[in-house]
Amino acid sequence: MAYLSIETISKAYRKNEVIRDLSFEVERGEFLVVFGPSGAGKTVLLRLIAGMVLPDRGRVVLDGADITRDAPDQRDIGMAFQNFALYPHMTAYENIASPLRSRGMARAELDSRVHGAANLLRIDHVISHLPKALSNGQKQRTALARALVGEPSVLLLDDPLRNVDAKVRYEMRLELPRLLRERDTTVIYVTQDYKEAMALGDRIAVLGDGAFTQIGSPEMIYNRPANSRIARLFGDPPINLLDAQREDSNALRIASNSVALPTRTSNSAVSSCVVGIRPEDVAVSLEAVPGAVPVEIDAVTPLNDRQVMLLRADDGTEIFASRPQADQLAQHDGAEQRGRRRAWASLDLDRAHFFDKSSGGRLLEPSPRMAEAAR
């Protein structure tokens, strides 16, 4: 049986249902990432679990006990917030000690636990400071130490790295899993950064319009997105979603060009659909390639050591391509690289996703190659 289970929970504010019949389960020691765009109800969901907001319907069950109506202080839940929520009138030490003080812990043990947590998060040197004297990174570490020190059954992290700078965010992304795995903590982590979700989550739950649209491993979500909206949320630049019509049994018409279909799809009932193809699966060449779509390279915008290109087909369709900087497109014998250039884009439909035009739902299982990785 699952450690924490949320059972068909609903919450409305003024008839506007923010969370609708939402259910999920988290195993003990699991790291579940709740991912969704802003306004999808992520924060309300965490507050329901924390007990700050009571649901209209449904149950919250922790380790077999129904805690739906328990007060927050009776739940044994730790939480870290996007805005840190440190107590501004208490030192970092007192902030961290707060969960222990509520249990009336003996002073010696409290002291050693607080210092232990501060050491772990590398803030022992600023432990006597007030929050206003801390950098944002230190504030978030203090907040995490406070959430961890009481060793709660469940840890809720509400976009904790949102307000720290890029460097600290990256550091914490590496550090957090190690910290938490050591303690076997059950974590629900909310974020709107897909990289954070993929890096941290054992599983990712994609929240859209008050309900989960897909729950699965990062590989699953990336390689077998349930619909085109989810596909667009993961990946930078986002997946290309191209309108396609069936031309004949072996080809699709995309961007006014004929693109060959892989054999596995040639017999299926795919007629007109939306083809989702990730930028890294679009190969760009400066010489004509048979079967490739002629395009102009409108702009090259490097991104973290990848070369990202915005391509425009002759009918105006925009296609993103991305490749490692290391094998970047050869520069035209020293000629100026700026400005538009003619090129040819090969779309690897074997790695593409096929979505329904109106509903956006997935039409075909991914190719065995990708299904392999999605397991």
């Binding site: 507050r47 700050m52 927050p72 929520a85 501004p88 206003k132």
Partner: protein
């Protein structure tokens, strides 16, 4: 060069403005050390032989005028002022702070209306309220009691506390309170250890303002109390005697009556400033 001139000009201007606003106060302080003769001399002169006569008269309670000795009870008035103001502020804080918290945190039916009604007491001219109140007070035997006056002072101080403190509570992030609850602390502990300390600058400001308003009230005390409970504002009327107005004593009374408020303001300042320096209440 030009900045030098500008700076000098700015200082001169500032001194002038300062003098303009502080002059009445300064003059009152000087007056409190003058005899009536000095005060009424024309043209007025800042040079005179200072005397403590006014203060001695106030403190001893014997006022000798040209038409004989008059008994005054100024020190008793001062004590009344302190009792009335302190009690009013304390009662207002005890009632108003939790109410302000409720208005800030919980949206309940009619909440806004209730808060507004409390504020609306301040709209009516006090006299309009007073005459019917006088009737009630006499029936209820509240006339000329501390309790009655403190009660009626709530009309002044409670809305003030409620509205000022409410704003401060609204600025305290709910997340901070939730965090403290999740640390395992009860609702009550959270209120006293988190909400109140974070709203303290607001509470201090509201308390100070309430005190000043209560202290300076005249009309309620004049009508709803006799000499037994009357504060300094009403007591000062005694200096208008049959033989003339005792300006010197009025000035000295004024100086004495300012002292408690001044002390309180200096004491409260620490908390007002603390609010500014804590800063990151929101984040």
């Amino acid at each position: 060069m030009s900045s030098q001139i500008l700076r000098t000009l700015r200082i001169v201007l500032m001194v002038m403005v300062g003098l303009f606003f502080l002059f009445p106060l300064l003059w009152v302080v000087l007056m409190s050390f003058m005899t009536n003769v000095d005060i009424l001399r024309s043209p007025p002169s800042p040079f005179f032989v200072p005397t403590l006569r006014n203060y001695v008269a106030l403190i001893s309670g014997h006022l000798s005028t040209s038409s004989g000795d008059v008994q005054i009870d100024y020190m008793h008035n001062l004590l009344n002022s302190v009792i009335l103001s302190v009690c009013s502020v304390v009662v207002s804080l005890i009632l108003g702070v939790p109410a302000a918290y409720a208005f800030a945190r919980y949206k309940f039916r009619g909440g806004e209306d209730m808060a507004f009604t409390l504020l609306s007491f301040r709209f009516a001219p006090p006299l309009l309220v007073l005459l019917p109140l006088l009737g009630y007070f006499q029936t209820l035997h509240l006339y000329d009691t501390y309790f009655g006056l403190v009660w009626v002072y709530q009309l002044i101080t409670l809305p003030l506390v409620l509205w000022i403190v409410r704003g401060y509570f609204e600025d305290v992030s709910e997340d901070i309170e939730l965090a403290y609850r999740l640390d395992g602390h009860s609702w009550l502990a959270t209120f006293f250890k988190i909400s109140i300390p974070l709203a303290r600058p607001g509470i201090a400001a509201a308390g100070l303002l309430s005190f000043i308003f209560a202290w300076n009230n005249f009309i309620f005390a004049l009508i709803l109390g006799s000499s037994a409970v009357q504060p300094v504002t009403v007591g000062a009327l005694a200096f208008i005697t049959a033989s003339g107005i005792e300006y010197g004593q009025i000035a000295a009374a004024l100086v004495l009556s300012v002292i408690p408020t001044l002390v309180l303001a200096i004491f409260t300042q620490r908390y007002l400033v603390e609010g500014l320096s804590l800063g990151a209440i929101k984040g």
